[in-house]
Structures are given as C-alpha cells and as structure tokens.
C-alpha cells in the first residue's frame, strides 16, 4: 500500500461519527457572513444596508488577486455592514443579514438530478470557479481559481484528490464520498478537463474500506479516475506527503506542487466544484462533523456558511457537556481551538469537535532528552528539537538555514515528544520571526 516515505505518526483515529448520515441544519434568524473566509485579502462588500438578497447572491466581490467571492447563504435583508469577531476573537469585516424566507437565485439548479456533461473550456471552468467563490476545503482555503490557473511554462501532469482524511475525528469527507460519490467523480472529471491531465488519483486511507469500495465502483463509470488506497498514517493528506505517496515525487524546499507537475485538491472541493459548475451553486454550505467522545450523539451536517458555533451546538446536542475543555474547529492535530462560540462558521470549517477537560490539557513540560523522536516523526525531514533550541535563544538566521520555513505545521513532533515540549509552538514562532526578518531585509 502506498504511503509517504519519511516520518509520520498514527494518532488514535476516533472516527466515531462515521455512520451518521449528513443532515441539513436549519437556517437561523440572522446570519453574519465574514468577508475574509479565504487565504488572502478580504472581499469587498457589494451590497448596502437595506438591500434585499437571495440565497447565492454575490455580496462580497474579490478585488485583490488573492481573494475569493463571497455569496449570501440566506435570503433576507442586509442589516448592516460592520465588523464581527471571528472564532479567535479577531474583528473582521462582515455583512449582517436578517433572514426572511428561503428564496434562491433563479440561476441555481436545485433539482436532485445529476448532470454529467460538461462542455466548458478550461478557461471558462476557471472563470466559473472564481465567480462561484470556490476555495480549497482541505483547510487552507486557498482560492481555487488561482490554483487551477497554471502559470505559463509549467505543466500539470497529475491531478491528485486528497480523500485521506487523516485527521482524527473528522468524518465529513467520508460521508460525502458515501453519499455523493457520483457528483464527486463528475467534479473530478471537470477539474481534469480544466488542467488537461489524463488521470486523476484519489488517495483514500485504508481505514475507510467502504468508501474505497464505493468510490471504486463509481469511478468505473468514468474515464481516468484512479482510486489509490493509502496506508493509515498521519499526515497522509498533507499536500507534499500525498504527492510523495502517489507519484513518488518530492517537492523541493521552497517550491510548489506545480513545480513537480502536481495539483492537489481536497475531495470536499470536488463536490463544491460539481455544484458550482453543473448546478450554478456558489460555495454557501459546509459539510461539517459535530463530534466528541463525551457528546450524547454524533452528527454530520450540511450547514449554511455564517451559522454560528453556538447555533450548531444547540441544534445538534442542545448544550456543551459540563466537562468540556475545548471546542476545536478542525481535527485534533491541526485544528484550532475556538474561543468565541458566537462566531460565524466560514468556508472550509470541517468540524465542531468537543474535547473533554482532561484530554484538552497539555501535560507539564520537562527537559529535552535528545531522544530524536521528533526527528523520526517529522514528515519533512526537519529537526524540531534543534528549532526549539534556536528559537529559545533567538537564533533566527540559523533557524532559517535549517529550513524552518519548510515545516508544514502538522504537529507530529509535538505529538511524539515524550517531554511534552511545545515544539510546534516554538517552530511557528520561529517561522514568524524568519518571515519578519526576510520582510525587513527586502
């Protein structure tokens, strides 16, 4: 079975919400849509106070290069354009909408029929991805139209679809594969067409045998879709690791996947691409997992973007258990703790993960014993213990020479450290310092 060559760990999988079918979350009374839901500059609001909007109407336009359109997830009246605190308490520009009814844009095809044919030219596909505000749903929320505009002089040879879902707890990708396999395959065919590559490879970790079987059966009806079962190892779904596992190629330090002829997309994105291209539906919904060992029930939901964490929690489980230590958006390895549960969800949110008090706490830190476990765990072949020492002593230049910027922040080092040193925290701080140093030199 294929896997990446270097490092990796195997955290407890905890896929306890695997069998919960995707439910539809009802829409609340008011929606707050952040203008900055993607990597890059915030979108510029194009509606005004008092405007009537429909579901799927453009409310934030991408004016900068690294930016994505934002559409209204609900119908109603624009209440105000103001700032709103996001999940981490940071104020961001947002559009507040009072929900009235559920009136969709006429252009959106809401019938359940599956549309297979796509005759659009690659450039038209990319333009439509931009129009529909599609971003990568694997976590980084990288605007899709930029990813699929291949720079001149470079050629894509492989399209790789990440369905590894190597993060513990998360099951949204698994549910999408089980319930929307055909749509996904059409989405992949569209992306293949956009890139002009002969084959697309879908990497699925072997702890999802049903998804592998189901996807294989569906993919038979399509041309050029190869399902690749992968070994269960974290971070199998990381861009560079997945490329290494499937093609055997290695992305050199400081280069992008396209430099080795690869484009990697998340499986959730392919479903969004299908809906955008074939059904004219902008990215206004997330599929997210509500899970946690101490929760009375496990869920997978289709949620309109802008629904707050509190609304999701109260609808799914009523209220948080008293023993809750942390609410995490994302998986346990790379997710971020949410401090403001009144914050609206944004594109790319994959889960509301509730962790108990005991599990949430970090164990006390002790001294490094130079055991080298972090080096063995690092999938990028770096030396986390060294970065720790360099960052603590402020040796930024040296940290840069040891390629600190190659770190993908997967957290394997911290996970494997027997001394519980906050290695990833230190590396992130070091990366910030290196970036600041490089910016100052320019």
């Amino acid at each position: 079975m294929k896997t990446f060559k270097m490092g990796g760990v195997h955290p407890e999988e905890n896929k306890i919400s695997n069998d919960a079918a995707i439910e539809i979350m009802p829409v609340g009374k008011q929606m707050v849509v952040l203008m900055n839901q993607h990597l890059g500059a915030p979108a510029t609001p194009v509606v005004q106070k008092g405007d009537k909007v429909k579901v799927g109407q453009l409310i934030g336009e991408a004016q900068a290069f690294m930016c994505a359109n934002v559409h209204s997830p609900v119908s109603g009246t624009v209440l105000k354009i103001d700032t709103c605190k996001d999940a981490f308490g940071i104020s961001k520009p947002a559009v507040y909408i009072n929900v009235e009814g559920d009136e969709w844009m006429e252009s959106i095809d809401r019938t359940p029929d599956i549309k297979r044919e796509c005759t659009l030219e690659p450039k038209e596909i990319v333009a439509k991805l931009k129009e529909m505000g599609i971003v990568g749903l694997g976590g980084a929320t990288f605007p899709a139209h930029i990813k699929y505009s291949i720079p001149e002089g470079k050629k894509a040879e492989y399209l790789i679809i990440n369905a590894a879902e190597c993060e513990p707890y998360l099951t949204s990708d698994y549910r999408v594969m089980m319930e929307h396999a055909e749509e996904i395959c059409i989405g992949i065919s569209i992306l293949r067409r956009a890139l002009g590559v002969p084959n697309a490879y879908v990497g699925i970790e072997s702890n999802k045998p049903q998804a592998i079987k189901h996807m294989q059966e569906t993919a038979r009806q399509f041309e050029g879709i190869v399902i690749e079962p992968l070994k269960v190892k974290y971070p199998q779904g990381a861009e560079k690791q997945l490329i290494n596992a499937i093609t055997g190629r290695k992305v050199p330090s400081g280069k992008l996947p396209i430099d080795v002829g690869c484009v990697v997309s998340n499986i959730g994105t392919t479903f969004a691409v299908y809906e955008a291209i074939q059904k004219n539906k902008p990215l206004i919904e997330n599929i997210l997992t509500v899970t946690g060992k101490e929760l009375p029930s496990q869920h997978n939901y289709k949620v309109r973007i802008g629904t707050t964490y509190n609304e999701i929690i109260s609808h799914s489980i009523g209220q948080l258990p008293e023993t809750t230590g942390k609410v995490i958006s994302g998986g346990t390895m790379m997710g971020k703790a949410v401090v403001n549960l009144d914050a609206p969800t944004v594109k790319g949110n994959a889960s509301v993960l509730v962790i108990g008090e005991k599990e949430a706490r970090r164990a006390p830190e002790t001294n490094c014993i130079r055991c080298g476990k972090c080096m063995h765990a690092c999938p990028m072949g770096l030396e986390p213990y060294l970065f720790s020492a360099l960052v603590r002593t402020g040796k930024t230049e040296e940290a840069k020479e040891h390629n600190i910027l190659d770190c993908i922040e997967c957290g394997c080092c911290f996970f494997s450290c027997p001394a519980n040193k906050p290695l990833l925290d230190e590396i992130r701080l070091g990366k910030n310092r290196v970036r600041a140093m490089m910016a100052a030199k320019k």
Partner: protein, 305 residues
C-alpha cells in the same frame, strides 16, 4: 651540554626577533585607524548593551556619536542626562537636557482575572500567543501576560504581578531604554515622561474598538467617549480610533480627566493617597450587567441598583 643549551637559546632568540619583526610590519601594514575618542565615549556609557538607543550596543552607539560629531537624534536612555552631558563634553558639543522617562504599561490590571474567557496553555510567549488569538481576556489589544517584556528587560525593572497577570514597572530601576516596549507585540508599553515629582496621568488602555465592543472585552476599557478631552484645561488629550491619548508634554497632572472617566481607564501614579477616604468602606465590586442583545431588537437595560 653547555653547547646544546646555548644553541637552543640562540635559535629561539633569533626566531623570536624574526617573528617580532614580521608581526610589527604586518601590524603597521594592516593598521586600522580608529578614533581614540570612541573608546573614551564607550567608557562613559553604562555598558548594558540594552539596545534602547537603536544601535547594536554601547560600542556601536559610541561609534555613531563620534562619526556624527554631535548628539542630534542620539540618546542613551539608561545613562540619562548625566551620561549624555559627559559624552557631549568629550565630543565638544552641546546636548539637550531630556526629561527623565519611564516605561508605562497601558493595560488595566483590573480587567484580568475576573474576565478571563479562555485558558492559554501553549508556549509562554506573547509574540506567539498574539498570532493565535485575542488572548485570555478576550481583548484584541490588551496585555497577553506571558512576559516577553520581562525577558527583554536588562535592568530587572519589570515583573508580572501574579495577582493580575499584568506587568508592573519598578520606576526606580527602569531606565526607559524601551526594550520592553519593543518586545511587546501589542505595543501596550509606552515610554513616557516621569513627570514633575514623579506624578503622571495616563490612559491605561490601548483598545481601539468601538465603545460598546471595547466594553464587552473589558470593563475598564477606554470607550472613546471624549469626556476627558472636554474637561482637559490644557487640551493635552486627543481621541483617535475610539481611543483617548494624553500628550505627556502638555499634561499638567490636574487629574480632572481621572475623575471624569466613566470606565476608570485613566490612571494617576505618584499622587499622595487621598486623606480620610481610605477609611470609607470599599464599594462592593459590582457584577457586570449581562444582556443578550440581538441587533435590531428593542431592549430594556436593567437599572443599575
């Protein structure tokens, strides 16, 4: 036997003279001409290498002084006026007498603790915590309390008060070098004039959010209401981005603004404690009124009894 000793002494002696000559020639050839004044100036400086002057260290500061020939734009904060006068004497130029200064932490100690909304157990570094989220208090501008300033201080003049989690400056030790202000990722610390009789008034908040939002973050936040600006007799107070700022060069420390401030965001330091008032029973701390408001909804604000 005697011959052997003699030969050894002669050989070593000749070699010694030979090397001495080579070394002398090399030393003359590659001589670096350095103004002896630099050494003299460096001697006068405190030698703490705090970096407060913006140079790499005291030696670099001395070099800059001598190169420039005067003291314009150069100042050694830890040395103060005495050291600056000595340096000016060595250089033969004049120097402006600066007001003595001190570092001021512009975050309200009472906002911590009670208002803690989350528990941070990651790397104890403000610079890192600042990249993650707003911090334990929920204020996106306030002190994070990990002590980057404490680490930066070369003079042991700033420490975290364990009861509030906010740093406290020891005005007697502080040299106003500015290392803590530079280390603070949120620019909470400011270098201000010590003031006459070491009495000073400052706005102890750096929150630039709108009043209502700022108030949600902290009960003692400056809400930019402008009352202090109106009451100030010397117009030393200005309000920008919902935040009041007292210009310490104009302030006469009359303390009218301190009385006026509705959120007690303006602090006075160094004034004698008010007489008698100390005996009055301390007011019981009031529970902050919590009202859930959806925008657009009419609400009645409960009376404050």
């Amino acid at each position: 036997m005697t011959n052997d000793i003699l030969i050894a002494v002669i050989v070593l002696g000749v070699l010694g003279i030979l090397f001495a000559v080579v070394l002398y020639i090399v030393a003359q050839k590659f001589k670096v001409l350095e103004d002896p004044l630099i050494d003299e100036v460096a001697e006068v400086l405190p030698g703490a290498n705090c970096g407060g002057c913006g140079k790499a260290g005291c030696r670099a500061f001395a070099e800059a002084c001598v190169k420039q020939g005067n003291m314009d734009g150069l100042r050694c904060a830890p040395g103060g006026n005495a050291v600056m006068a000595k340096v000016a004497e060595l250089l033969g130029c004049s120097v402006e007498q600066g007001e003595p200064q001190v570092a001021v932490v512009r975050c309200n100690p009472s906002c911590k603790g009670a208002n803690r909304r989350s528990n941070y157990d990651g790397l104890q570094s403000c610079a890192f915590q600042n990249t993650l989220y707003t911090g334990e208090s929920g204020c996106p501008f306030g002190c994070l309390g990990c002590g980057d300033c404490v680490e930066a201080c070369q003079f042991d003049a700033i420490h975290i008060d364990p009861s509030t989690g906010i740093p406290v400056v020891d005005a007697n030790k502080c040299t106003a070098c500015g290392a803590c202000a530079k280390a603070c990722p949120r620019r909470v610390i400011e270098i201000r004039n010590k003031g006459r009789k070491e009495r000073r008034v400052f706005v102890s908040c750096v929150n630039k959010e709108k009043g209502a939002v700022a108030r949600k973050s902290c009960d003692n936040a400056c809400i930019g209401c402008g009352k202090c600006e109106k009451v100030c007799p010397v117009s030393a107070i200005s309000i920008n981005d919902n935040l009041s700022y007292i210009d310490f060069t104009k302030c006469i420390a009359c303390r009218k603004c301190v009385v006026e401030c509705p959120t007690h965001a303006i602090h006075d330091v160094g004034f004698p404690a008010p007489a008698k008032k100390a005996e009055a029973p301390a007011e019981a701390p009031q529970e902050p009124i919590k009202v859930n408001i959806t925008v657009g909804e009419k609400v009645e604000i409960p009376a404050n009894n």
